[in-house]
Every structure is written in structure tokens, then in C-alpha cells.
């Protein structure tokens, strides 16, 4: 295996931070979050699952799509695409998996989403394997693993005295130039991933359960907040609006922005004229799960869930996606 020490890794990251936007797990007032870091001192190497996914760096929670300036009768449009390269360091395998789920919609459709593609092409993913599965984690049920290299450019695994370094893609290999590596005997032990498997029912079997009473039972307690969607690595709904940022004599400047949205929120589905086809909480919560396990796989391929477990631990009223999956499996005959 290829091996590096923590000190070498730190030195490499410190150099990367000079040449790239380096995003890494950081302690932000007691919360572990993927955040931009200026040097290796700010990076956490020993952490659980960051509280938010990494999608903010590919699908920003607020993104300016277009700047519009109106001077008298003259209108100018400017695309707002920053030309920055970023390295996401310390990203967990489930979060990388989440980005591949987003790719199916934003990259692999015609036309692709230009903004997402722009960020994705300029991003390199350096993952750090989870040493274990944490509370709520069920990545192994969703085709992942705590040390799954599949969706990363480089995977690091903690081993005695440092890290095993596994380049996965050519992009990852290129980034590793400049990191002092040595060859060592042996290979890292697989991470113990003993969490109980959650049954995933195939999309076609979901259709028959659309009117099932279980949606009422799970949905009644929903608060219609957006926590589950906003902590989720694969939820991708957005809203678009224009906002006036400056208005003075003869000049108006407008930004067209896109912003995260969530299908659990009350007015998400409201249409012109005020009609809301999903007026109740059970209907909205049902849509959340149908999107992930029925509509998205049917329309775009992958399941809309990677088993990171964030929605489970952060739901204030105990709505649990694995409980829903168990219920669906039970009702559709396993």
C-alpha cells in the first residue's frame, strides 16, 4: 500500500490550500462542518460525520446565476461563474456517493446543468474513510461502505502511524503529485461495518402503496420544516428568483439566484392561482420518500439516498427513513 504520515499530509494540504479553494472538515463553534480552510491547522482529521453534506460546494445553498444591469434602455447580462478549482478534503464516502446521485440529474441529462457541471469539473474529492459507522448510518444498505473508494478521486484510510493512500482516478493521481508517499507491506484492514441491513424495496413495488395508511402515520408528526432536505447529500430541489440589489438614478442591478428548496415545506408545490396539490403533511412526506426510492431511480437511475443517516439524527420529531423502508418492505411482501 501507499503510505504517508500525518505530517506529510498536513504539509501537502497546506500547499493545496494556497493553490486551490480547500474545503475540509472544521470545528465551527462546536459543529463539524465542511468549510473553506486557509491552512492545515484548521482541518479536523479525527471527526464523525460532518453535520451537513458537501453538496453546498457543488449546488450552493444560494447561487447567483446571472447578474443583470439596466442602464436606461440598455440591458447587460453577465453569467456569474467563478473560475475556481476546489479540493474537498476529508469528504466521507457517503457524501461522495451523494454527489454521484446528483450527477445523474445535473450532468447526465441533456442539457446538463451548466453551473453544476462548472463546479463539478473543477472539484477533486479526497475522501477519508470512516473508522466505523455512526448513529443512524446505513450506507451499507445503500450500496456504500465506510471505506468505499468508488465515488472518490482519492481515498485515505487511517492506519498505524499515518494513512494508506489509494488513488482512484487520474484526477486524484495528478493531485497526489507533491505528497510524499512510500510503499509499505500489507494493506489496511477493512472497516467493521456491522450495522443491520435496511431492506430497500424496488421502485415498481412502491406504486401499490401510494394510498397506504402508513403515510398518514409517519406524516402526521412532520413539522413541515426543511431539515431533512437541507442536511441530505442528495436532495436537490431549488427555487429561482430575481432580486433587486441596487436601484439608483437610471441604474437597476438585479441578481437571478437559485436557492435550496424542500418538498416537505408547505408551499413547495403551490401553483399559480394558489392551488396546492400536496396540501397536507402526510402527502408531502410521502413525496419525499417516493422521490428517493421510486421517482428518482425510475427517472434518473440511482436511488436518491446514500444512507448517511443525517435526516434520522436531525429530525426533531423522530421521523426515521429506515423505519419507513422497513414498513414499505413489510407491506410489499419483503
Amino acid at each position: 500500500m501507499r503510505f504517508t504520515t500525518l505530517n506529510e499530509l498536513r504539509a501537502w494540504l497546506d500547499r493545496l490550500a494556497q493553490e486551490h479553494d480547500l474545503i475540509a472538515p472544521r470545528d465551527v463553534d462546536g459543529h463539524v462542518l465542511y468549510r473553506p480552510v486557509a491552512s492545515d491547522d484548521e482541518i479536523l482529521f479525527d471527526y464523525e460525520r460532518p453535520e451537513l453534506s458537501a453538496k453546498d460546494y457543488l449546488l450552493p445553498s444560494t447561487e447567483i446565476l446571472l447578474r443583470v444591469e439596466k442602464r436606461g434602455s440598455e440591458v447587460t447580462l453577465e453569467e456569474a461563474l467563478p473560475d475556481r478549482r476546489q479540493v474537498l478534503f476529508g469528504i466521507r464516502p457517503c457524501d461522495a456517493h451523494g454527489l454521484v446521485v446528483l450527477d445523474a440529474l445535473f450532468l447526465e441529462q441533456d442539457p446538463p446543468d451548466l453551473y453544476y457541471r462548472h463546479h463539478r469539473e473543477r472539484t477533486t474529492l479526497v475522501g477519508l474513510a470512516c473508522p466505523q459507522m455512526w448513529e443512524g448510518c446505513f450506507c451499507t444498505s445503500m450500496g456504500g461502505a465506510p471505506d468505499d473508494p468508488t465515488h472518490l478521486d482519492v481515498l485515505l484510510k487511517p492506519v498505524d502511524g499515518g494513512y494508506a493512500v489509494e488513488p482512484v482516478t487520474g484526477k486524484g493521481m495528478a493531485l497526489l503529485e507533491g505528497l510524499a508517499l512510500e510503499e509499505r507491506e500489507g494493506k489496511p484492514l477493512p472497516v467493521v461495518a456491522d450495522a443491520e441491513l435496511v431492506p430497500v424495496t424496488p421502485p415498481e413495488k412502491w406504486r401499490a402503496l401510494f394510498e397506504d395508511q402508513m403515510w398518514m402515520r409517519h406524516g402526521e408528526r412532520c413539522l413541515s420544516c426543511r431539515i431533512c432536505a437541507y442536511v441530505c447529500p442528495t436532495c436537490r430541489c431549488f427555487d429561482v428568483t430575481d432580486r433587486v440589489v441596487e436601484e439608483r438614478a437610471g441604474v437597476t442591478r438585479i441578481e437571478c439566484i437559485r436557492v435550496w428548496d424542500a418538498c416537505t415545506s408547505t408551499n413547495y408545490r403551490r401553483v399559480a392561482g394558489g392551488h396546492n396539490p400536496r396540501p397536507t403533511k402526510p402527502e408531502r412526506l410521502r413525496n419525499r420518500f417516493y422521490c428517493k426510492f421510486c421517482y428518482y431511480p425510475e427517472d434518473f437511475g440511482p436511488l436518491g439516498c446514500v444512507g448517511c443517516g443525517r435526516c434520522i439524527v436531525s429530525c426533531p420529531v423522530g421521523i426515521d427513513i429506515t423505519e419507513v423502508l422497513h414498513d414499505v418492505a413489510e407491506r410489499s411482501g419483503g
Binding site: 453535520e51 451537513l52 402526521e220 413539522l223 437541507y230 428568483t241 426533531p316 420529531v317 423522530g318
Partner: protein, 289 residues
């Protein structure tokens, strides 16, 4: 002092009677969640009352769900009658909603529970309980349990005083740093019994006050605006702070205003079913109000 098991039994007995007699169509209480933690439960059938539990992790303020029962289930019908399990802090929300004509007293059966405080996820006393000296609900149709013999704590506002003693620039920096973490998920608003506007002013289509961006200026405006809208109405259940996935210390905003209203008006929201004097009372000339 009554044990959790005894109260669980009594809640089930009450619920069975209320549902079997047709007095209510739903009992809102607590059940054991999928991972062994209490969570809100909606019992529609007397045969399901065994799901109901009571225990120290029954943190949720269930009165927020009363808003879901305000409208008739079918056109032409009366709105449904519902029973709700409340702790002392939650019970104050019942009074606020009664005063603001959001619920009708005869349609809500209040199952009050004497409270010695609930626990957060780590098993420690919840933040709100450490500063609460209310042991009995202020409104109920039936009271379960006896007031526990624990010494009342009361709020010494020590954390709030630290913030208030900061220089304005320092205090602003403190809050902007906190608001920076906010993800604008609206959980604080959605869990609040007092936040029931059909269209929140911060979520208007026309973006009259703030646009939909999830950035510090919008989040700053949202949190301060929400706090002001709850001045004299917040009943200190602290659910907003409990549910915040980013750990914003929202109670500092609400308790600051709660203390102001109590000092100026001698009024605590929800002690009685009376409207907050904040918007209706004018003081004599020269008075601080």
C-alpha cells in the same frame, strides 16, 4: 411524586375513555420512537392507546399540532375535537392560542401532566428545565401526577446578561457568527405554537422584506423578526432552540424580550388566556411604556 409508569397508565386510561366515548377524535401524546426515544404520537382509535407513553424524554411541545385540527375534516362538518398532553410550559401555549382565538376551549381536551423537567438527548436536564420553576400546567381538563418535590430553579438570566453586557459591535459580531451557521430550514418557526401565520412575512413570493437567499443578511432579518413577533407571546418552551440543527442559541433572543415584557408590563405569556398587553397598552406620559 408519581412515576412515569403510573402517568403512562393514566394517560392511556384517559385516552381510551376520550376516544371510546367520542369526546375527541384524536389524542396527541407521546410514543416510543423507532430508536427508543419518545416522539409525538397521534392516536385515533381506542385500540391504539397502548402506544402512548410518558417519560423524561417527552420533550416536544405538542400544542403546535393543534393548528392541524383547526379546520373541519370535510366541508360542512365542525372542526374535530382533540386531546393533547401538555407539560406546564406547553400548557401556556394553550392559553396563548385560546387568547388569540386559534383554538376553541371546548374542542381541545387538555391532559396536563405535573412536571419535574425533561431530559435532552444526552440525558441531561433540558436547557429550558434548568431555568423553569413551573411544576403544574396552568390550564387542563385533567391533571395527572402530583407536583414533584424538586427545588424550583427559576431563570437567573446569567447567559443573557453576558450577551447584554457586550459592546454593541461585539454583540453584533456574536450574532452574525451564530446566524452564519443557520441553514434557513425554518424548523424553529415550524415547531413554534406561536408561529402560525398562513404566509410568513419572510417567505412571501414577492420577497417584500427579505429574498429567499440563504445568506447572513436574510437569516439575520428572519431571526430578529421572528423574535420580535413573539415578544410577549413566547411561552418559553424553547422548542426553537431544541430543534435547531445548527445549535443557534435562539432562547437568548426570546428570553431577552420575555424579560423586557415582564419588567415593563408585569406580563408572562400564557399564564392566563389573555392577550399580550404589548400591542394594546399605552402608559402614562413619562412612563417607560
Amino acid at each position: 411524586m408519581t412515576t412515569s409508569e403510573e402517568i403512562t397508565c393514566e394517560i392511556r386510561t384517559q385516552a381510551r375513555e376520550l376516544l371510546a366515548s367520542g369526546r375527541v377524535s384524536c389524542v396527541i401524546g407521546y410514543e416510543m420512537g423507532f430508536r427508543g426515544r419518545a416522539r409525538p404520537a397521534f392516536i385515533h382509535d381506542a385500540d391504539d392507546v397502548e402506544r402512548l407513553i410518558w417519560g423524561p424524554d417527552c420533550v416536544h411541545n405538542l400544542t403546535v399540532y393543534l393548528h392541524d385540527f383547526k379546520k373541519p375534516r370535510k366541508r360542512g362538518e365542525e372542526p374535530p375535537c382533540v386531546a393533547v398532553v401538555v407539560k406546564p410550559c406547553d400548557s401556556r401555549a394553550v392559553n396563548v392560542l385560546l387568547a388569540e382565538q386559534q383554538i376553541e376551549r371546548e374542542r381541545v381536551f387538555v391532559i396536563g401532566v405535573a412536571c419535574e423537567g425533561v431530559h435532552d438527548e444526552t440525558g441531561e436536564p433540558a436547557a429550558r428545565c434548568a431555568r423553569c420553576d413551573d411544576r403544574l400546567p396552568v390550564v387542563y381538563d385533567v391533571l395527572l401526577g402530583k407536583p414533584p418535590e424538586v427545588s424550583p430553579a427559576g431563570d437567573d438570566y446569567a447567559d443573557l446578561t453576558r450577551i447584554e453586557e457586550m459592546e454593541p459591535a461585539e454583540r453584533l459580531a456574536f450574532w452574525l457568527r451564530e446566524f452564519d451557521r443557520c441553514i434557513r430550514c425554518y424548523a424553529c418557526r415550524q415547531v413554534c405554537p406561536g408561529c402560525y401565520c398562513t404566509t410568513c412575512m419572510f417567505e412571501r413570493d414577492d420577497g417584500l422584506w427579505v429574498d429567499i437567499g440563504i445568506e447572513v443578511p436574510q437569516k439575520h432579518m428572519f431571526h430578529l423578526g421572528r423574535a420580535l413577533h413573539l415578544a410577549g407571546r413566547c411561552m418559553e418552551c424553547n422548542e426553537c432552540e431544541r430543534v435547531c440543527p445548527m445549535g443557534l442559541p435562539l432562547s437568548l433572543l426570546n428570553r431577552h424580550l420575555t424579560r423586557e415584557v415582564e419588567t415593563l408590563f408585569g406580563y408572562r405569556a400564557g399564564q392566563e388566556a389573555a392577550l399580550s398587553p404589548l400591542l394594546f397598552e399605552l402608559g402614562e406620559e413619562g412612563s417607560p411604556i
